[in-house]
Amino acid sequence: MSVSLQKDSRLASPAIVAEGLERLGYIASPSVATSVYVSAALEKPLLVEGPAGVGKTELAKALAQYLQKPLIRLQCYEGLDEARALYEWKYGKQLLYVQLLKDKIAELTAGTKTLEQALAVIHAQDELFFSRDFLEPRPLLQSLQVPGGAVLLVDEVDKADPEFEALLLEVLSDFQVSIPELGTIVATEKPLVVLTSNRVREMGDALRRRCLHLYLNFPDAALEERIVAAQVPQCTARLRAQLVAFVHGLRKLDLRKLPAVSETIDWARTLVLLHADQLAWDLVQDTLNVLLKFQEDAEQVHHQGLRLVQEACRDGPHAAALR
């Protein structure tokens, strides 16, 4: 049991992972760091679920940057099939080669007397047209072939059809792809796999069982402040505390789309651009469209926003300074 599962010292413990990601500006909560650590230790894909904009995709990007491995991304959508996800034969190239090599084929079959003999000659060659030269690897297969391993991001896997999940199973559990004409291609180095889902559709049980599961929710205020500090260092501590408190106030309202972390960051950037160093209601009104993406949400906040701004400015650690 005590046999070490770890190969990469950069993934040796949750603390090391958290620290490494933080250096790159991705502030990982303990559960995120632990999940990444477990995923690397057990060589299992990590399924990350949660609302949009909490940093699911960013996690994969940050991991690739941290491990200095290429990020291979497969964006899922309805109708995605194996030809676009796994591999495809280059049919056009095959047909073109057949045309170009017409004479050569004629030469080859020139000596034969019967149709059977001619077919046997061609049969001996047909492996040529189903070799790796005519294989177009798509993201899933690509990620298995990268020397030194890669980070594979299967983004918004819930948007793909249920049958696509079945396609993923072989890749994710055994890190191999079976191609009838070529045989099984096994990963040279197992990629670190991150799947993300917004829970548009519930994932099948078989896929869940093969993955580790991480539910990424909106961060608490302290963590979100750290995230803003890392992403927008120009933002003053007072403004940071106030804007995070305001966003947390917004998330308590019954809005059609709650502002996510990415929107907090965008908003912080906007406020910094406007040279703000503390929150004020007129400033909030002017920049609210960065945070809220629906008209009805904006209208609702116009009614309650002043109170939220006051609360955000009152409760923050810099309240005393304000008064």
Binding site: M1, S2, S31, T34, A41, L46, P162, Y215
Partner: protein, 446 residues
Amino acid sequence: MDRTLLLFVEALRQAGVRITPDETTDALRIAGEVGLAERDTLREVLGCTLAKSVADKRRFEATFQRFFALPGSSADSPQQTAPTAGATADDAGLPQAEPAAGDLSQEPGVMMQQRLAAAAREMRIDTIALPTQKGLYTRRLAMAAGGEELEAAWQLAQRQGDLETAAQLAAQGERLRAHARAMVEQAYQLYGKGRMQALSDIILQEKPLSALETRDLKRMRPLVEAMAQRLKDKRRITRHLRRGTLDVRRTLRANMGHDGVLMEVAWHRRLQQQPRLVALCDVSRSVERYVRFLLMLLFELKSVIRDLQVFAFAGDVACVNELFQRLSLEQALDAVPHAAPGGATDYGQLWRHMTAHQLHLFNRQTTVLVLGDARSNDLDPEVALLRRLSAQVKRVMWLDPEPRVQWGWGDSVIWRYRPLLHGLHECSTLLQLEHAVNRALVDFGA
């Protein structure tokens, strides 16, 4: 440590989290790596390996808190967890060393806990299955954890007339029993309650829906949800891929412009047919209760049946799609039975309405699902109209909530409809309803 984790997995399963042996192996491997010392790290690593959905995460958190608060469940022998025993022992009251038998009256609380933990392990406290076993388990646990010696010492003190010691020993015994009781109660919550629940679920699924009591209804919702999930999982497998094989004719035609040199490839495309389910629900008093469960099931299946048309009928017919889409399940269930105009149930009127106003819904992609007892109050059953509909749809499935022996008796016209149906199933229990809907959905989208 492995035993502790296996017990924890068992407790999670009892709490309703589905865990495969493979996942258990993962949990053991990773827990061996991080150890039991860091409670938070342990919770995180077990959480991501064992709980794979948001609902499971909630159950996991609750069970984790309860399990690691239970002395004995996490009780490894001190040798096994020697380097990490400190923190875990603090958290879960683990034995640091086997308590020395002897001066029981001096035994401090920790020692008592340790004895209890050891005794609980010995007697397999996790086998508790029924609430009525609690008394027996408590007594056996207390006795095994030193109660016997305490009792003997108390009797000796009584005989010797040492009343002060006797009183002390009695208080000690009472404390021991209280601890044992708390421990058995927790063990029941962890291991027994789930078993009890599973048993009552099986009974509920086979109980006639008409005999359900109000308290049962609350339990039915998760059962129906689980049922819907099973049906959804099955349906996933029956769907087909979109792209077909190479279309030679179209390929040749497409490449005529390239002087016959084949450069573009054309594929057979499989048309995505939109399968439609038309559910016709009899909401008269006699069938209302069954309709409730069918509606619950259909509501859960909304995501896989994209084109779902629901009608309620009694004296006349009403389309309730809008209620179904707009309201929450509870509201819809209450609203649907009142949507159809009352009066005596008239199956003839149902078919007249459908052929007159809703004929466009019935085509080769349509599966019709009727839930009703076919008791038409001696009104004209309009068999000819049903024949017409039946001929132009893919299938007509009928779910009759009455026991088979009552079919055709009195004003029931089910046998007159029977030859026009592609399936007729009795559905007086939840289990039968699941089988019937499953049959209706087989090949539904193909």
